[in-house]
């Protein structure tokens, strides 16, 4: 009996997942080919991936652990500064810049997460904002190191060296896009693996019912802390890429507006779906780029679209797919 039911179920999920997954990657890989024809440019595509990664990182916490954070700009911004510090003060190495981004953002996430872990609900959410604002004001005030209000400037991302081969992501926007895509692919692969693992399932269990989870022998606070740290890790990767994309890091990357934007992307795209936040980021970043070229009031248009999505697609733009899977 069990031998017949289990493979049948596996087949069904594989069939369902294969097509949209292939479509997403096909679109992402072919971006530099078709983008110019629809009026886009490479840096815009890179920015979609950067914010998509940040929103997917946040969504591990928001959509898959059921814990709110309105302060993920902290890990995004610290990632940006981490990468900036290395390139500006130390060495022209993109891999080391990314490593510093990850270390700084993840360490802050682990520390702040540990300090917040005992709190729940609105108290937890308020603390996430508070810690992010602390980071913002430190970056804003510490002129000699961070460049203060003007930000950290005067560095450029370094070309990648693979033995004798040099991939010049510094001057070639298409190559840089593919670099971002490669990092994005590794990160989303890790996320997908995590969510299929016992640890990932414990996060989903906490989202569904923390009390039940505790009485299944899973220490809820510790697992929320782990989820928070992992979430900060992915968001700091995105922050590092953001610094490389712009060739600067400034305090606005740490500001609560960024935290809010990332939450909007995740919610608009669909918190319960794996790829939802990427779709949300694509819509948000593209609209921001398009509307802000016409009016400084771009945020009110995005706000209206956000309200419409929440009213008419409460599960986000990709939410209806998750619905169908369950039916």
């Amino acid at each position: 009996m069990s031998e017949t039911t289990i493979p049948a179920m596996a087949d069904r999920t594989q069939q369902r997942n294969w097509l949209p997954l292939a479509a997403i990657w096909l679109v992402l890989i072919t971006v530099p080919i078709w983008l110019p024809y629809v009026g886009g440019y490479n840096a815009l595509a890179s920015r979609v991936l950067v914010f998509g990664l940040a929103a997917m990182g946040l969504n591990l916490l928001l959509g898959f652990t059921g814990t709110m954070s309105f302060g993920h700009a902290a890990y995004f911004g610290l990632g940006a500064y981490g990468a900036g510090f290395v390139l500006r003060y130390w060495i022209h190495s993109t891999p080391l810049a990314m490593l510093a981004a990850i270390l700084l953002g993840t360490a802050a996430g682990a520390l702040f997460g540990a300090l917040m872990a005992k709190r729940t609900g609105i108290y937890f959410a308020m603390l996430t904002i508070a810690f992010a604002q602390i980071c913002y004001y430190v970056a804003y005030s510490w002129n000699s190191v961070t460049g203060g209000y003007d930000g950290l400037r005067g560095f450029q991302r370094a070309p990648l060296h693979f033995g004798p081969y040099i991939v010049n992501i510094r001057d070639n926007g298409v190559l840089f896009y593919y670099f971002v895509l490669a990092v994005f692919a590794i990160c989303t692969g890790l996320m997908a693996m995590l969510l299929r693992s016992p640890l990932g399932r414990s996060f989903i269990a906490i989202r569904e019912n923390p009390r039940r989870t505790r009485f299944l022998g899973i220490p809820v606070e510790r697992h929320v802390w782990i989820s928070f740290t992992i979430s900060a890790f992915f968001t700091s990767v995105a922050g590092g890429l953001y610094a490389l994309l712009n060739n600067f890091a400034d305090p606005t990357a740490l500001f609560y507006v960024i935290s809010g934007n990332i939450v909007i992307m995740a919610v608009m795209g669909g918190m319960r779906s794996f790829w939802g936040p990427l779709i949300g980021a694509a819509v948000f970043v593209t609209l921001q780029d398009y509307i802000s070229s016409m009016t400084v009031n771009w945020m009110s248009f995005i706000g209206m679209i956000f309200v419409a999505v929440v009213l008419f697609f409460p599960r986000g733009l990709l939410g209806f797919i998750g619905r169908r899977r369950r039916a």
Binding site: S197, P198, A205, E208, R212, P219, V220
Partner: protein
């Protein structure tokens, strides 16, 4: 020796004493029922045993070891599994996924960010075993939130069983159920007790269920122990009759 021993625990919430100096001793393989009117402190007593909150005074021993200070989450690892009066499940996950979380926790995999094929197969086998034991195999891939009340309760019990408990604590397993569902859940508890030999402590309102299933019964009123004994002794006890039926005066 008794598997679970509660030594004169008291729980006060401010000036309200919810449980007052109650003791209990449960032998291995026993099915113990706790009955009493609403507000008698039954669920509070359960929460003390499972570590939901600490007692104001008194001690709780599992297999001779004092666990009064042990956190609820760690008591699970020591072999204590419970269900709740209002079913606590993962509503948007399937029955199989619900049980999977419990099986993986029990197998010590809960911190693992990856899982290999062999472990997955072992976990799948354990899930199937739990599905068969609770007769949920046909509903395995449905969302738990969509199931009938009785099947949801069975799923919750399946999760508790997946923890390989030494003692199973069920808080009103037939609460809010109709005839058919009460019969279904009572049958499941009977099978677990008689055929598999689980040690079970249950709070129950349905007197037919209690007197059919229990080896021994304890009666709580207003936070204190009123009586304790076999079903026959309890049925014949004048104090219990007075508490439940009112005195003839």
């Amino acid at each position: 020796m008794s598997l679970l021993e509660v030594r004169s625990v008291t729980k006060a919430f401010g000036s309200l004493v919810a449980v007052n100096d109650v003791s209990l001793s449960v032998a291995p393989g026993e099915l113990r029922a706790i009955i009493g009117p609403n507000g008698a402190g039954k669920t509070t007593f359960f929460n003390l045993i499972t570590g939901f909150f600490p007692p104001t005074s008194g001690h709780i021993l599992l297999d001779g070891k004092d666990i009064t200070e042990v956190a609820a989450v760690d008591r699970v690892g020591m072999g204590m599994a419970r269900t709740f009066q209002i079913t606590e499940i993962f509503p948007e996950l399937t029955v199989r996924e619900n049980i999977r979380v419990a099986v993986e926790s029990q197998a010590g995999l809960r911190l693992r960010p990856w899982i290999n094929r062999r472990q997955t197969a072992e976990v799948d086998d354990k899930i199937d075993e739990m599905l068969v034991a609770t007769r949920l195999t046909e509903q395995a891939d449905r969302l738990v939130g969509e199931l009938s009340h009785g099947d949801q309760r069975s799923a919750e019990i399946a999760m508790a069983l997946a923890l390989k408990p030494r003692i199973l604590l069920l808080d009103e397993p037939t609460a809010g159920m109709g005839e058919q569902e009460t019969f279904q859940v009572a049958g499941l508890i009977r099978r677990l007790h008689k055929h598999t030999g689980y040690t079970i402590v249950l709070i129950e309102h349905d007197m037919r269920v209690v007197f059919n299933l229990a080896d021994r019964i304890m009666v709580l009123t207003e936070g204190t122990l009123l009586a304790e004994g076999t079903p026959d002794e309890i049925a014949a006890n004048p104090a219990v009759q007075a508490a439940y039926l009112g005195t003839a005066e």
